[in-house]
């Protein structure tokens, strides 16, 4: 984690982006060692669209600084125009000429945004908002993102970046103090769980989401969602009531989108975190919502979809989760509700049926830490009140064979139950001990309350 301030160096434990020396016109050739890579990654987050395959490969293999060097010195000419046949920065898989052309195409995509770019301006905006920039080498980087085929170059964070470190995501990293303070002990503490769904949600879906989110957050789970209307907003609101939540934005973190959720997003920033892979100033374009969803999936230890139509962005989050090996849960709803069709589709595809916070938690802490089914069986609300509950074998048959209100002789019970006299008498004795039957002389009857 690094603060985005440009004030005097050393204001945080990490080297801050303090007073970078004059950079080139691309604003990245900083010479402060630790920060050059951060500035370069921030620059790449502006140059390339999220999940741009060539940019991800280039930055991932060479590092962001060397990748920018290649772009400015090899792929573009002195005027910033793409060269037709640059030296490929990575060994080509197949035909070298084809690879060179592909890289030329990629560079031509990035070049227009390079003109006049100085990423320090965006970092200044972030600083004024009290935010910070995270890059993969930071201890606070949510390492779950590294499971992505096309990880983000950096994260632009408002709020507390320590909340992004999930226990599973970074097993060797000590939890930052803030995180330890916030989370209670428990099987879910330190886990992150995505709770996502449709914008066109129903009252039912929002109600279930709110309850699930507040139940999870109360157990120390960081609830991650996308800040949209409907299910996302209900997830944030529910989590805010009892704990912390993280919102992953499709646009820059300087704009709280959608504006109608500005109040809840302000609260998210105040006690949780708002995160984006694109710099301040970037629009939340529609295709960025889809690429954003991979971040939600990879930052979380599991994803639960509450309501989703047949085609829904929430399903893309679920598919990203499967791609990076995270469990996926789906909350059922009425089969007559179009808002639940996508969830039922997921259930048919193998998603786990999740009906409450405990079952959602089971997705991320499955090692016997919790057993929602056992808990439900023990719940008095689910305790059967049926006549034969808790009985089987001869006792159930005998009790069943007793008339509802009249008395019966052992002989008639024997005949009705289809048991031997010895079995019948033994069963009657057991039932008498349990207070389910009463003896009157030679006759038996059901006890009051067991008729």
């Amino acid at each position: 984690m690094r603060a985005a301030n440009t004030s005097a160096a050393g204001s945080t434990a990490h080297v801050a982006c303090a007073d970078p020396p004059p950079a080139s016109d691309v604003g990245v050739e900083a010479t402060v060692d630790g920060d050059a890579e951060a500035l370069a990654r921030a620059t790449w987050s502006r140059l390339a669209e999220p999940a741009d395959a060539h940019a991800c490969a280039l930055v991932g293999r060479l590092g962001a600084t060397a990748a920018l060097d290649w772009l400015t010195h090899e792929a573009l000419d002195a005027d910033g125009e793409p060269r037709p046949a640059p030296r490929p920065p990575l060994p080509p898989h197949g035909d070298a000429a084809r690879a060179s052309a592909d890289w030329a195409t990629a560079a031509a995509r990035w070049a227009p945004r390079l003109q006049g770019l100085d990423i320090r301006r965006e970092l200044d905006v972030l600083e004024r908002l009290g935010g910070s920039l995270l890059i993969p080498t930071d201890p606070g980087w949510p390492t779950g993102l590294n499971d992505l085929e096309r990880p983000p170059h950096c994260l632009w964070v408002r709020g507390d970046p320590a909340l992004l470190v999930a226990r599973r995501g970074a097993p060797d990293v000590a939890l930052p103090r803030a995180r330890e303070d916030l989370v209670p002990d428990g099987p879910g503490a330190g886990c992150a769980l995505a709770l996502v769904g449709a914008r066109a949600s129903t009252d039912y879906g929002e109600h279930v989401t709110f309850d699930m989110a507040s139940g999870l957050a109360a157990k120390g789970v960081v609830v991650i969602s996308g800040g949209a209307f409907g299910i996302d907003a209900a997830a944030h609101r529910g989590a805010l009531r009892t704990g912390v939540t993280v919102s992953v934005s499709a646009g820059g973190v300087d704009r709280l989108y959608p504006a109608g959720n500005a109040d809840v997003l302000e609260e998210v920033i105040a006690t949780g975190a708002l995160v984006a892979e694109v710099p301040p100033g970037c629009q939340p374009g529609r295709h960025r919502f889809l690429t954003r969803n991979r971040l939600i999936a990879a930052m979380s230890d599991a994803t639960v979809v509450v309501e989703a139509a047949w085609r829904s962005g929430a399903l893309s989050t679920a598919h990203h989760a499967l791609e990076v090996g995270r469990p996926v849960g789906a909350v059922p709803g009425p089969v007559t509700s179009m808002a639940s069709v996508g969830c039922h589709r997921l259930l048919r595809q193998g998603a786990v049926c999740v009906t409450d916070a405990d079952e959602a938690l089971e997705l991320v802490a499955p090692l016997g830490a919790t057993d929602p089914d056992a808990a439900k069986a023990a719940d008095p609300a689910n305790a059967g009140s049926g006549l034969l509950d808790g009985l089987d074998g001869p006792a159930a048959v005998v009790l069943d064979a007793l008339p509802a209100r009249a008395e019966a002789s052992v002989e008639s019970i024997v005949r009705a139950a289809g048991l031997t006299e010895r079995e019948t008498i033994a069963a009657l004795g057991l039932l008498e001990l349990e207070g389910r039957v009463e003896r009157r002389g030679a006759a038996w009857r059901r006890a009051r309350g067991h008729r």
Copy 2:
């Protein structure tokens, strides 16, 4: 199949129970070859409770007639009293003395009901009701029952017994004519599907059940259920609207239980079948409901549970279905509904999520015969109307980069989209072909209806 008439022989294609010679006091020592076994099986269905392990083993291994011989000649003395140490009728698994005692206990269970029993009286009742008796050697026997560890000794049937022969259950048996007449062609024709659920159902559950049952029956599926209030009744009613249905009773078929469902059960008998493993006159005791459920499961090619509380008899039907290797489906509902808790429990245990008749049919005809998901995707009701639907790659990015209502130059689109000029122009051309964008001189804008 055999008619239960005692009138002149030959009134049906099968040897009827016509004029059996005087039987012993146990009413089974008929000498008409084909019928002795039928009478003996009918007798066993009265002597032993359903699923009595010893009776099932004895009848299954020796045949019903020999089993009765053992009972009357070896296990009981001349007065009909159990002998303390009878010769075991089957080779003992372990300790011989223990086995002998176990068999003595079993015989003592059966002996009280043997006194004065003449099963022809029950067969007379069945005949007066126009019913028939089925035993496993009959061509019309639903062979799915043979998958049970403790199959019924016989079936007492009112209505059309030909409906019990499912294609899967009896692949080598030609469908009786009645069945062929009734079922339309289609992937489900000749299949049998159990549709079961809670008595304490909701309007939602009954509505879904009715629709699913009528949808299945319309495709030629025989819908099997238990005749109870709630989901069972809705299943029968829905199936009656478009096709045929079979009800499996926990008591004798002479009494229509529960009385409140007499109207629907009369309809079931008139066009379908009412079936029991116990003779007329037997009470539908509570434990018989649970043993009855194994018949529903085994007679069906799959079981779907619509609504079920945490503890519900419908869940026992599902578990029986799993035991005999039949697929199990569960219909989801609101997680806030106690009536759906059992279904969600099944889904968590691996049941298939089923939301309509097509998906239920998929359980029994899964070989590409139907593909509910493909059908849903093709359904215009599920066709997305989103701006980017059907688009991906550069076209989606470019369309997204276009302002909602203003015009934009290629250069500004290039910058906003993060694509090369060539990619952008190609995408614009594609979008123009699809009528999603319009060109005005050098500027582009979204077409009306695509904003």
